[in-house]
Amino acid sequence: MNNNMKEIRLSGSGGQGLITAGIILAKAAVIDGYRVTQSQSYGPESRGGASRADVIISKEKFYYPEATKFDVLLALTQEACDKYSPNLEENSILIADTTFVKDIIVQEANIYEIPFTNIAKKELGTALPTNIMSLGFMVKLTKVVTQVSLKKAVQDYVKKQYVDLNTKALKIGFRLANDPAKYSGENSG
């Protein structure tokens, strides 16, 4: 892993808030003083279909705006996990939402299996802030940006009426990263 540059891919399906999560992560990186690009790929539909957001966070100048090898891959669906996890390398980090990801085909990466969607439903009564929860988990775990900046970015970006909900989700994400092994190997569908 290049210490000066982190390539992060957030993947899943349309409607899971991955592009929003990418924008928030990129905004946090700007607050921390990094160079950053956030790019995306999505289909014409507003829900469903494959969706991904790439965030590149770097101390130095870089050119290509899409992630080519992933330092961190977040996969919120089985399809996304199958499609992108073959690009993972030995030191890469894979974070999978085991609510939907049942089968992880790679072994090289550091793998974290957390049922984010189920936890969101259980603790917050809605799956909506799953994106922010998983972002919180990832940031606490990888330190790609500071938690303070991420919190500020979330609160700046989401609509007023959702700030509380997303702040709660973020805190749960941070908490989950204290004991990331808690859920591994557990099939929590």
Binding site: G33, R35, T37, S39, P44, Y64
Partner: protein, 390 residues
């Protein structure tokens, strides 16, 4: 590392947002358009911002009406713009030709997506390069700019307005889906340091005014409707006052001016970037988002000792023929990566062919790297091709 400062904050900005902001900085008074992916954010932002300054935003019934509306607004003195993507850009061709023929300043943004027809709405392409040159019928001038970053989207939007106003023509700003939708950390320049050009209005008595005056620079002052000057606007060949003519001598003067206002100002119009070309033995020619992959490939290839550089046009039309001849003179292979089936490739061949093959009697390799499936060309793909060719 870019440092955060209160005066010039580094912000995360989207490409389309930078175009909207650039247009406002350039003094945009009027926008008419019809929303289309991946250009919609431009209209969205301007629909909010223009009314704040008491200016007009109109959502038209289609793209034909949109281009007509901005031409009308410009004739009344406004700095006017529209933004669209391939399908809408096709519909606008007649209007673009009319703006060029009537020498009416305006800016058209075309955010390229996969084509032909409605194609791949949410995927990038560079398939409209030739359409921006020859999309409208008849010989017509073309000034087309293509940025590679969010910051440059801002800067070249301002430049597009400046050139439109100065040269009295329709200037096209090309971009692509990835560039338009991606966000980058940017520090916008101070508005105080941004040079703005406004069309020159006539100062002579109204009875002396010619809307298309002959002069050595091929660009004449332009009155606005309602200013007290009388002129006629038609797509037909016209005389100096704008009235239709069938006379070959008058048509020749008009056609000559349309051509020479470009060819006599190439030095100002053509902008290109050279990247690590000093000692290059092979080179890449790439524009827009593909140049980002190319730069990444150049940096990586240099690390493994390969002497490679890049020429990147910021002005696509007029094409930088002289730059290619100068900088590619000593290289053995030129790689042309692009998100289409060879639109830049053929221009590179045309620009270089006559200079090289006869003099040196060597075969120069011009190697295409093409993709049009809606995905970007990656740095690795460029590097792989460079290894294959040797």
């Amino acid at each position: 590392m870019a440092k955060y400062s209160k005066k010039n904050p580094v912000v995360l900005m989207q490409g389309n947002e930078a175009i909207a902001k650039g247009a406002l900085a350039a003094g945009l008074d009027f926008f008419a358009g019809y929303p289309i992916t991946p250009s919609t954010e431009i209209a969205e932002i301007l629909s909010e911002e223009l009314p704040k300054k008491g200016n007009r935003f109109i959502q038209m019934e289609d793209e034909i009406a949109s281009i007509a509306a901005i031409i009308g607004a410009s004739l009344a003195g406004a700095k006017a713009m529209t933004a669209t993507s391939g399908p809408g850009f096709s519909l606008m061709q007649e209007g673009i030709g009319f703006a060029k023929m009537t020498e009416t300043p305006c800016v058209v943004v075309n955010v390229m997506r996969g084509g032909p027809s409605t194609g791949l709405p949410t995927k990038p392409s560079q398939g409209d390069i030739m359409q921006t040159r020859w999309g409208s019928h008849g010989d017509s001038p073309a000034i087309v700019l293509y940025p590679e970053s969010v910051l440059e989207s801002y800067q070249l939007t301002i430049r597009a307005f400046n050139l439109a106003e100065k040269y009295r023509t329709c200037v096209v700003l090309l971009t692509d889906e990835v560039l338009a939708h991606m966000r980058e950390s940017v520090m916008l320049p101070d508005l105080k340091n941004v040079k703005l050009i406004h069309r020159i209005h006539p100062t002579i008595p109204p009875e002396w005014y010619k809307h298309y005056e002959e002069n050595p620079k091929y660009i004449s002052p332009m009155a606005s409707y309602g200013e007290g000057y009388r002129f006629h606007v038609t797509g037909l060949a016209h005389d100096a006052y704008g009235f239709p003519t069938n006379r070959s001598d008058e048509a020749a003067v008009m056609m000559d001016r349309l051509k020479k206002k470009i060819t006599h100002h190439l030095r100002e119009l053509i902008q290109f970037e050279t990247f690590m070309m000093e000692d290059a033995r092979s080179a890449i020619f790439a524009a827009g988002i593909t140049a980002r992959a190319a730069k990444s490939a150049v940096v990586k290839a240099r690390k493994s000792g390969k002497k490679v550089g890049l020429i990147r046009p910021l002005t696509i039309w007029p094409f930088p023929d002289d730059a290619l001849r100068k900088y590619f003179h000593n290289v053995r292979t030129v790689f042309v990566p692009e998100l289409n089936q060879g639109q830049l490739l053929n221009e590179v061949k045309r620009a270089m062919g006559s200079v090289w093959n006869y003099e040196s009697r060597k075969t120069r390799n011009i190697v295409p790297i093409q993709k049009n499936n809606g995905e970007l060309i990656t740095p690795q793909e460029i590097i792989s091709t460079m290894k294959e060719v040797k």
